[in-house]
Symmetry: C2
Subunit: 315 residues, 2 copies
């Protein structure tokens, strides 16, 4: 039984391409994931929020994950999202990820019922860990209250760490609230609990305070610059690197993020089909797309090597 | 191809029993559903919010639905919840329900992403209807913003009714806001769009304004009294009947609803295993259970015939 290295650095919640008929597009997916890993991402948090993971069935996720591994994406660079509303779905996806050799599993809390107790959330995560029953499992808790509406509290983390040390490996904090990330770092980072910021906007602060990197939507389009900040956070130009990646992020955040990411990939990859999203999302309007790409061109943004990767996918 | 009668009256989102190991308990489920249909419910909105439907996998829901029909619960009394976050899951469950002959499908909007557009929600429902592609399909839209956080707006209903008349059959309004239900009734009831109140608290008002009944959590334990109000809403004692069912509802609402419903069934059915819920829910504490049942006894509440039904399930 091999225990893989722990992930650190810049992870992208790889966006999931769909064909026009809304089925997942395995070839474009593999191509995009390989481009990310060769252009700055040290890992991929596939099936995150920005991957439209919750618009996919359990089977669709499993097939896509198997496709990645079969096509040569290293499993020890993968941290698939496996937390579902249904306990049995979470167990199935998490077991599948562990069996494939994935580095970790990024777990949303069950997110349908609101106002649930920490006791209920503890039981959910504990039940998944017990049922998967594999020492290779590393759980990264996914705190994203603006979307899930169900928070991962400090008390819950503390209790899970106490009962499942080693297995409960870290957190992605997508609260958008630096003070919350700081509190998590202060409470748990020294004990080997890996805190990923949920946006590169907080990457420098996260590294200065004991964090291990970021898992960020815009890692899908700007992995090189974010990785340079990750690697150079102790350097003289770190503040300047931070300022630059923040500017790109802020520009993207003026648009609906998932549709905007796909519009940017379609534009720089010269591959119009990439814009497709599943309902309830909608693609950008032509005017939005033009405005977004014009703004990116204006700041000198680029995605080197993307056209070649796209050509491979389409071939 | 048979088109079944349209449902009206009191529908319960039948609670889903679990064994101690958290697997769904088919025998107790059939028994409970049959008790409901013989004690006041004219239909069952199985796999609703209070059924812990979103804590079940797609396969678990399909097996339970097939079990009901195989065990003699009439399919034309069933309105299963089939709306999921994933388009492909919604299509699969809705097709399955139609194939079994169910009277309708109660559809949540995809509820993970927040702040989505009506255009995106329209595409979701339209895509499900087109892909199921069966004239027997009747869609009931499920508006429950306190839980889903994704509303079904009047504009969305209007657009769906225009494009899919007959197929888009009605709504369950669980907003908890009578003025919203009234607005839906005023806008759509005359055209044959069936408005179910999401709580018996609004049943009399709903009937007076052209609604067709209610789909209510407490239908699981108090179907007889709610049905008497439904049948007698034009009678002299309607206000008194309303007052009584509202009192029971208000008493129940002091406790976490799903755990409370199961505690009441366990108590009156003399079947302790019924209290089991799946995480992230937790069962009532012993003190809460004692307090709840004492309050119910004090107002003369009963569930006639439940012990016999439970004995059948356990045998």
């Amino acid at each position: 039984m091999t225990v893989s290295k722990r992930l650190a650095g810049v992870l992208a919640p790889a966006v999931t391409p769909f064909k026009r008929n809304l089925t997942p597009d395995g070839a474009r997916y593999v191509s995009h994931c390989k481009w990310l890993l060769s252009h700055g991402c040290s890992g991929l948090a596939v099936f995150g929020t920005n991957s439209e993971a919750n618009s996919l069935s359990v089977e669709e996720r499993m097939v896509l994950l198997e496709t990645l591994v079969q096509e040569g994406v290293p499993a020890d660079a993968l941290m698939p999202g496996t937390g579902c509303c249904s306990l049995t779905d979470s167990v199935r996806l998490t077991s599948h990820a562990v069996a494939l050799g994935c580095a970790g599993a990024l777990m949303l809390p069950p997110f349908y019922y609101k106002g649930v107790s920490d006791e209920g959330l503890y039981r959910n995560f504990a039940e998944v860990i017990e049922r998967v029953g594999d020492t290779r499992l590393r759980v990264y808790l996914y705190h994203i209250p603006p979307v899930s509406q169900v928070p991962i509290t400090l008390g819950l983390i503390e209790r899970l760490l106490k009962h499942y040390p080693g297995t409960v490996a870290g957190v992605k904090d997508s609260s958008g609230d630096w003070s919350n990330t700081k509190t998590m770092l202060d409470a748990f980072a020294k004990s080997g609990f890996d805190v990923f910021a949920g946006s590169e906007v907080f990457l420098l602060d996260n590294m200065k305070n004991g964090g291990v990197g970021c898992i960020t939507a815009t890692g899908n389009i700007n992995p090189g610059a974010i990785d340079r900040l990750f690697r150079g956070w102790q350097g003289a130009d770190a503040a300047e690197l931070q300022k630059n990646v923040t500017a790109t992020r802020n520009l993207m955040q003026k648009y609906p993020m998932m549709a905007a990411l796909k519009a940017v990939i379609a534009h720089y990859g010269r591959d119009p089909e990439w814009v497709t999203v599943r309902p309830p999302l909608v693609e950008l309007t032509p005017a939005q797309s033009r405005s977004l790409t014009a703004e990116l061109e204006a700041i000198g943004f680029d995605m080197p090597g993307l056209v070649i990767a796209s050509a491979t996918a389409t071939a």
